[in-house]
Symmetry: C2
Subunit: 408 residues, 2 copies
């Protein structure tokens, strides 16, 4: 007997029919003698419908009330799924985030989980219940409803698995696992049986939307065994996210992630003196704009420097406005921007022990005439920013160059 936490996303519970299918899958696990906690999202479209209502009233809806509003989405799903489980003869009980007491900080619409009271859940599980928990939501110290931000249901699933010391956390989604890259771009893309946490972190943060990055971080921190599976297939092992020690030998490159949402801002000819990076990025951070890649090069004349960073494309106009405002203060010659860029990244823990990955990557792109605008590396990834129009081509040729269509 194992304790399994299963998380089903919005499309997996997007209709009454699909909710019944989820109930059947849960029933099969119960029949095998497992204890099951199910975490669910709002039915597809529901969260957007609610946000739409709010925006008819306030262009920037009040965050506290927004959380009160959108948290109803998951509350509807937990009730319906519990009913579906009971209709199959199982014992089931629903919990909102507040009822579990998933305690979060008070940062409405993007709260972070502080602690989880697992006592009641455990008693219900021991009593033979399937426990159905609303994902994405919690409650702050004062009893205000909070939400974890988009995709937060994954985080709820992992956090519950950690709190309950579950044997496995299964994330059911509309894909059947993690692929070497997006199969819509590279038909030969191959499903990975395993991927390490570190790789998954890079894949998730680089735009492979299978799993929320916060959920992966959480799983890594609490050593939660995480598996990605399809809720539309009866069978299949999905992809297991492992700790590096689990496998004897790692492939050099596990996958290729990419991101179309990058926009590039370049500040040219700023004085090369201490504090200049803060002078540039401080105002951007103050405006709550997340910055992804940051690169600083020595300028041609040796006394000035060029500074480039990327932001989400939605924030491009705001970021450019801020930089134009501070341009004269910081003494920059010019501020330029480009929102027609994309990022492509090779990811793999095997990279650590192999040289020549970067040069192979650059050679492959050069052979296709693809200009590299920015380069950034970490221990287990190499990212390049290129013209958006070459994105698909770059991913395809790199996938082939590193033989990703063949199992390692």
């Amino acid at each position: 007997m194992a304790l399994i936490v299963q998380k089903y996303g919005g499309t997996s519970v997007g209709s009454i029919e699909r909710i019944k299918n989820v109930a059947q899958r849960v029933a099969r696990f119960k029949a095998q003698g497992h204890q099951v906690v199910v975490v669910v999202s709002a039915m597809t479209g529901e969260t957007n419908r609610l946000i739409g209502l709010a925006k008819e009233i306030q262009s920037h809806p009040d965050p506290r009330e927004m959380d009160v509003l959108v948290s109803t989405g998951e509350q509807v799903t937990i009730a319906l799924l519990s009913m579906a489980l009971m209709e199959m003869g199982l014992k089931a009980k629903s919990y909102t985030g507040a009822q579990v007491r998933i305690l979060t900080d008070a940062a409405h619409t993007k709260a972070r989980i502080l602690s989880i009271d697992e006592e009641n859940l455990r008693r219900d599980l021991d009593g033979g219940h399937v426990v159905v928990v609303a994902g994405f939501q919690g409650v702050d110290e004062k009893g205000n409803i909070t939400t974890l931000g988009r995709g937060g249901s994954d985080t709820t699933g992992v956090a519950l698995a950690a709190a309950l010391k579950a044997d496995e956390c299964q994330i059911y989604t509309d894909v059947d696992g993690v692929y070497t890259t997006d199969p819509r771009i590279v038909p030969e893309a191959r499903k990975l049986k395993t991927i390490t946490f570190e790789e998954m972190l890079e894949m998730a943060s680089l735009g492979s939307k299978v799993l929320q990055i916060r959920a992966v971080e959480f799983a890594g921190k609490y050593k939660v065994k995480l598996r990605v599976l399809s809720s539309f297939e009866e069978e299949g092992e999905g992809t297991l996210i492992t700790f590096e020690e689990d496998t004897m030998e790692q492939p050099i490159i596990s996958g290729i992630a990419f991101n179309r949402d990058e926009a590039k801002v370049t500040v040219l000819g700023v004085p090369d003196r201490p504090g200049i990076a803060y002078a540039i990025l401080g105002p951007v951070a103050d405006a709550n704009i997340d910055v992804d890649m940051i690169i600083q090069n020595v300028g041609a004349d040796g006394t000035t420097t060029d500074f480039t960073f990327t932001v989400h494309r939605n924030e491009f106009t705001r970021a450019m406005g801020i930089l134009k405002d501070v341009q004269s203060t910081i003494g920059a010659r010019e501020v330029k921007g480009d929102d027609k860029t994309a990022k492509v990244s090779l990811v793999g823990v095997g990279m650590r022990s192999h040289s020549g990955i970067a040069s192979n990557m650059f050679k492959t792109l050069a052979a296709e005439g693809i200009n590299i605008q920015m380069i950034s590396t970490s221990e287990i990834k190499i990212s390049v920013v290129i013209d958006e129009k070459y994105l698909e081509l770059a991913v395809r040729v790199l996938h082939k160059a590193f033989n990703l269509e063949q199992a390692a």
Copy 2:
């Protein structure tokens, strides 16, 4: 400065536009220096939509999960109304039933309020906030979400007014007050400026759907000043529900209530012995069927009796089935039923001190050839059950016979 509780029903908050209208009305009261607590229902149609989803899964949805499901309806409205108030520059804060801590018993889908923590609300009011509370819902001792049953939002409004010792509880609805009878049937029906609690109780319980009977009971018990108003009119005093002492002289008859939902069950020729009423009604009560009128007559032979009662038309088939089952046990000769009946009632506290009301009523109906099937009286009402097809006629001729179109 007064403390006012305002309750808005589903049609009053049935669209974003209407929610904005409610916000404007609240703002006018705030501008006059009043403290305002607003209680809202789910947007029209939302509760039925949710119940529809549940019934696609379970023909008899689990009550606990049903409450989790339908309570989302009001939660959506409190968030949207709070946003609309903030958009107008007011301070506003929403509360679910659980967040107020409207403590109820554990009778899911028909819970009763046990107590209300008014501390937080009062602090917010003193801080200048409009407090927006979800009607219809509460929480039991164990933290389970409960609902008060259909129309329970009125009860929430009155209970909050009682707990906060509000100066007035205003119930906004789609009619502009309480009428002598339904204006759709009698165009001359007149709006009452005041009505006593006792009369309102009878009117509410007899099918005049302006106010929930439980809300009226609650208001009477805690001496809450209650007013019914239209949310679609800018001006208007509505109808004030008063304590009898408030007015010097009462009209003899205040209004005519009626109810199309009555079905009649008659048990003929049962032995006239102690315990027979319980033998007949016990099984009906055990099946959770509410019984309205009960009449027992001595039978023709002196040793048996005839027993008649009315139930809601929706329960007619079940009630008949139960009686057929127990017929032989109780030794009844026959069980008969009729679900094509209606009840018409004259209501008025002035009735107490005037004789001849009943005979005038019976004479009026007889003159139209309307047969009276059952009669039941209380201190302030006379009810008759008649063939459903005469209902409108009966209400019209009685309204005229008692001069209700003229102010007393």
